[in-house]
Amino acid sequence: MSVKDKVILIIAEQGLLDVADVSLSATLEDLGIDSLGVVESIFAIEEEFDIEVPFNANAPEESEFDISSVATIISAVETLVAEQT
């Protein structure tokens, strides 16, 4: 399974959605994932890929990890996986 598919699966699980309903342009908010859900998704991503994700819930917009859409998350995870593994 690709990084993209794994990230979508994690987000779908978090939002209690079908994988098919997770569009790349959606924000986490669109998918019904709140701030606690964001933190839990990032934890799941760290565990899945064995990476460290730089993210501070106090200032998500200032974190290096861009969570503004599903697509930006996938791209950020791909970068981290390439850097850290």
């Binding site: 709140d34 501070n56 106090n58 200032a59």
Partner: protein, 402 residues
């Protein structure tokens, strides 16, 4: 109903081992936060905290006692010695059954949990010290306090995360006010600066790696501290009759629940708690000169708390001073409300308002007088102390100068 006054105060925290040391540090706007000293520090991503340094329990407690005293109990007993010493109160056999203890703690004997989990899981040992249970239980500190001072009335521990101390002091206040007891020792403590404790907090991603900057636009989260604060509460008549020095009068207390989110604060819950404390105290918003903010330095808390103060205080919100001393002593979790009540005592007694240090850039969402960086002289006759906990449990205390 009895009037309830504070006649003794004690503390130990990262700013000082006594109340005078702590208040002096606050006047100077001194930072108690620094690099953590802890086993396996290299495995932490957050490496700062407001740790108590230079505290050697073996100087104060013998070996048999230490076998039963977790760090949280040690800190509680240190603070209570100072508070009882200042009050000059002797708990006679006659008074004993009309005296109680209410303490607040979020994590209780966390160091004992941590050390013994290591023993059995990491080191593979099959045996732990026989006193692990009585050492780690959340009511251990309150129990040792009752034994130390011959207190035979109602004693208990409350646990409401970051509001634990305010709930404890508020309940003790109500017990003295109602006439259930004559004297209460009240306050709280936490000592969560352990490897496991830090890992748990790291997980939430609300911890700053650099500094606690409440109300500052460039805030980056909370910083954990440790310590204890203990107060002697008694009736006004009792204190007067024995000629005790009265530090302040506790006049109001309110607690509310958000019934909302397990971690996100709620403006209405905070507003209702502040208004409730004012109503209980029969004070108007205009009477309050200073608010000790919950002020954790997280985006969620600071914005919600400032909006709540705006709503509860209306036009007076612009006149009231509000600071967060967590910028100096860190977040003592269950012990924080007790140490922060000292800030209110200093405002009422000495006319010194402790600052919010680490303040760099104003945040339009926190457009209040947050007493940035430098302490201020001001005459204040009544104060509020806020605590808004995870779990949406809020507790606000109101104090008045006597």
């Amino acid at each position: 109903m009895n009037r309830v006054v504070i006649t003794g105060a004690g503390t130990i925290n990262a700013l000082g081992a006594t109340v005078p040391e702590t208040l002096q540090a606050m006047r100077e706007g001194r930072l108690g936060i620094g690099p953590l000293h802890m086993r396996d520090l290299d495995r932490l991503s957050v490496k700062i905290g407001a740790q108590i340094k230079d505290f050697d329990p073996e100087i104060y407690f013998d070996r048999q006692k230490l076998a039963l005293y977790d760090r949280v109990t040690q800190l509680t007993l240190m603070a209570s010695r100072e508070a009882m010493g200042q009050s000059g109160l002797e708990i006679t056999d006659e008074l004993s059954e009309s005296t109680g203890v209410v303490l607040g703690t979020a994590a209780g004997g966390m160091n004992t949990w941590d050390d013994n989990f290591r023993s059995v899981y990491e080191d593979g040992k099959n045996r732990v010290h026989p006193f692990v249970v009585p050492k780690l239980m959340n009511n251990a500190a309150a129990s040792h306090l009752s034994m130390a001072y011959n207190i035979k009335g109602p004693s208990l521990t409350v646990s409401t995360a970051c509001a634990s101390s305010n709930h404890a002091i508020g309940l003790a206040f109500q017990m003295v006010r109602s006439g259930m007891v004559q004297v209460m020792l009240a306050g709280g403590a936490d000592a969560m600066l352990t490897f496991g404790g830090m890992k748990a907090w790291e997980g939430l991603r609300v911890m700053s790696k650099t500094a606690c900057r409440p109300f500052s636009a460039n805030r980056s989260g909370m910083v954990q501290g440790e310590g204890a604060g203990i107060f002697v509460l008694e009736t006004y008549e009792g204190a007067k009759a024995r000629g005790a020095e009265i530090l302040a009068e506790l006049v109001g207390f309110a607690m509310t629940s958000d019934a909302g989110d397990i971690v996100m604060p709620n403006q209405q819950g905070a507003v209702r708690a502040m208004r409730g404390a004012l109503r209980d105290a029969r004070l108007d918003p205009q009477d309050i000169g200073y608010i000790n903010a919950h002020g954790t330095g997280t985006a969620a808390n600071d914005k919600t708390e400032c909006a709540a103060v705006q709503e509860a205080f209306g036009s007076h919100a612009q006149n009231v001073m509000m600071s967060s001393t967590k910028s100096m002593h860190g977040h003592l979790i269950g012990g924080t409300g007790a140490v922060e009540l000292l800030v209110c005592l200093m405002a009422l007694r000495d006319g010194v308002i402790a600052p919010t240090i680490g303040f760099e850039h104003p945040d339009p969402n926190c457009a209040l007088d947050v007493v940035p960086n430098v302490a201020r002289q001001a005459k204040v006759t009544a104060t509020l102390s806020n605590a808004f906990a995870f779990g949406g449990m809020n507790a606000v205390l109101a104090l008045r100068a006597v």
